[in-house]
Symmetry: C2
Subunit: 445 residues, 2 copies
């Protein structure tokens, strides 16, 4: 057993935070000044602004505009060490986190902020055909599929195949599904038409398939209905009350409908990280840990768990939603709780405060549900835009995102229409079946 | 045999251009107004500004800032159809270009502008250990390797392994090699030091290994010497007169030196595209076609070849260099030659005019060799920067690149320090051996 060099026992209290998403990063920020050494582990080198990830998937933003190197964000915090690594388990008896290469990372207090991934409800075989959107790689993969579908349609000589290539199905009508569907429809209708000679991209079909009875179910019924109408105006076909029964190489099946489609995107469900498995504790159907009122794991008073990997009841009895502000509140709470405990105090229970929900529908439209204050349309879109730019980190990224949005809104041009990570052999079966295609194409253009 | 839909025989003269690099794209631009239908085929969807590709590889620029969708650039040209596809051959008897899926693209005039890739001088087995820099994927691969080496060094507990991780070897001291070496050294010395806790990134070794007797051999001796001194001031170790005899998982071998290194970048040689093979004509040692004075292929008067895939003598007897301005001059010439021939005229021979060479050494330093006019240092850097921004396409990208450079030059921060395309398992043997690692890492952070 090797250990990571810096955590040789100095006698200081050792805090390990796993995951540098909104919750984990906020916890580390708020631990400033604590009498402890902190280690932050993430399996990626960057913190990702997930609320705008769909804009990378739809060619509006560059990857680097919504991601920051974690260690750069913490460069001024000499009490924090950032490690790039994948946690493979937790040895609760020895109080150590196990990393990918067998290195052990000892902790006195552990914070698990390990997030969630896609869930296919027992149908993992759908994943190659219907990728989800959680990481930058997911986003560039979806971007590549959308753009490649138009390219293949331009070359297709079979009308049925051409129609399937120009059919885009988004499964799940939560904020991500709505934002993807609206943006793809807008791209087909305003960004792309002049660029093609053999196809009319305005005829592309964008389908939003949802098992529930309305889009944006977490918003008020009135805003849901508005979003529904707005999507239809943008050209999105909305199919409610339809659970998907199959995704395959030919398309998607729901109810009696078999819809031939070459591009399917999964926005229907998430599954928590394996944190519950690491600890050997109970989890709900979505893999989420139950936690105590102080966000510690039952029977593990030294282990906190926050964010999308846990299930917490809000004061109104509903579940705390899997959104960035909730994870940040929990991260802030845990940092304070650790500080209080190190002073010998007992933290008061965590209490979630819901600030509101926002979703963009099209380039001029958004819905905002702050409970008492509800807004929709162009003004909501401006608030949505300003809020998102405000929450981005750093002036350069704010300027860059604002610049991209300016171009989209004035010229209908998207700044990141790149097909990368794959070769352009359009009929490569790997593209159709969704396998990874060879990463590099050698030599000649 | 299927054919691409749009090229049904309309009676118009059919021009097919293969490759949308500097040469091919310029040819299509200059064909504006010609009485013909033009098809541009590229195996990527984007035109790439290769002179700044090293800045993507060194985390300074985002991929989308130096690449543009080809069909967007040609959206206003209704006489041009852009196809994403890989050419697999040319049927010179039937006058058809063969595409990846068997589709045939008939031509009356063919322009081959298919570029070049890396050449390992008969040692293709070195490629996994020493990737070259030609495509966006190459750049993000090299960026991932550089950044991952620092990450692994931060976690390493073996000093020898740590030293190998902090050794970066660039093979070849042409402009790309010099620019990469200078930028990596600068990154290690000014961008990264505050971000790490267990390593001092300023102690990273950056080696530039060159078989010839000076760096930037295409520049004047005086500028070469200046570049050499400047690189050394930045902390680059320059080893001249050393041909590399092996690249492997442990490092690089040249002369009697076996240098343990985990990051090796190949900037030493190029090989032309297989255009000569498609035509079954003679090629030189680097695979380059010989062409006539009017840039047609001998015995194929309807086929032009330009750019890095051909070997042409300049008026002074030297070879036309493989740089963007040369390819553009050839593209412009060919467009005019086609117009003249359609009018029944005979084009005058192509005559290359060398405007000069530029290379950036560090963030304030560059060398410029315009023949009579030579410049070095900070002023040269400003000219270099302004020239490169000028040649970028579109106001948005110019602003975005200028914004990134401003941040680098005032704050020493680089905007695109992202490790993507791979999972973070640092000791994954696939990372060490350079194989493609699984593209997506499922679920939990």
């Amino acid at each position: 057993m090797t250990s990571v060099p810096h955590v040789a026992d100095t006698g200081a209290h050792r805090i390990v935070v796993v995951g540098a998403g909104f919750g984990g990063l906020e916890a580390v920020y708020r631990l400033r000044g604590v009498d402890a050494v902190t280690t932050l582990v993430d399996q990626r080198n960057h913190h990702l602004f997930q609320p705008l990830l769909y804009q990378v998937a739809t060619a509006s933003l560059a990857t680097s505009e919504i991601a920051w190197p974690i260690r750069y964000l913490l460069r001024g915090r000499k009490d924090v060490t950032t490690l790039l690594g994948t946690v493979t388990g937790v040895d609760v008896a020895a109080k150590c986190v196990r990393l990918d290469d067998g290195q052990m990372l000892p902790y006195d207090t552990l914070v698990l902020a390990t997030g969630a991934g896609h869930a296919y409800f027992g149908h993992d075989e759908w994943e190659p055909f219907a990728p989800g959107l959680k990481t930058l790689e997911d986003a560039t993969t979806i971007r590549r599929r959308i753009l490649t579908a138009f390219e293949r349609a331009e070359r297709a000589d079979d009308p049925a195949e051409q129609a399937a290539l120009l059919t885009f199905v988004i499964i799940g009508a939560g904020p991500t599904g709505v934002e993807l569907a609206g943006t793809i429809a807008e791209m087909a209708r305003t960004t792309l038409p002049d660029d093609f000679r053999n196809i009319d991209t305005r005829k592309a079909r964008v389908m939003l398939v949802e098992a529930g009875q309305r889009v944006l179910a977490n918003f008020s019924e009135e805003l849901s209905a508005y979003a529904h109408r707005s999507l239809e105006k943008l050209g999105v076909e909305v199919a409610l009350g339809h659970a998907v029964s199959d995704c395959n190489v030919d398309g998607v099946v729901y109810g009696d409908t078999h819809l031939p489609a070459r591009t399917i995107i999964w926005a229907a469900g998430v599954r928590a990280s394996p944190a519950a498995e690491w600890l050997g504790v109970a989890a709900d159907r979505a893999g989420r840990l139950q936690v105590n009122a102080d966000l510690t794991v039952p029977d593990h008073p030294d282990i906190f768990a926050i964010g999308d990997t846990v299930s917490i009841a809000a004061p109104d009895g509903s579940l705390v939603p899997g959104i960035a502000p909730a994870a940040k509140q929990e991260g802030r709470y845990v940092a304070n709780a650790i500080k209080q405990r190190l002073r010998g105090e007992t933290p008061a229970p965590f209490r979630y405060r819901h600030d509101g929900s926002l979703a963009q529908i099209g380039k001029h439209l958004a819905v905002i549900d702050f409970g008492r204050f509800r807004l929709r349309g162009a003004l909501a879109w401006w608030i949505w835009g300003i809020a998102h730019i405000y929450f981005l980190i750093g002036l350069r990224n704010r300027l860059a995102v604002a610049l991209n949005w300016l171009w989209i809104h004035t010229l209908d041009q998207r700044g990141a229409r790149l097909i990368t990570q794959g070769r352009a052999v359009l009929d490569d079966p790997a593209v159709r079946t969704g396998e990874t295609v060879p990463q590099r194409l050698k030599s000649a253009r």
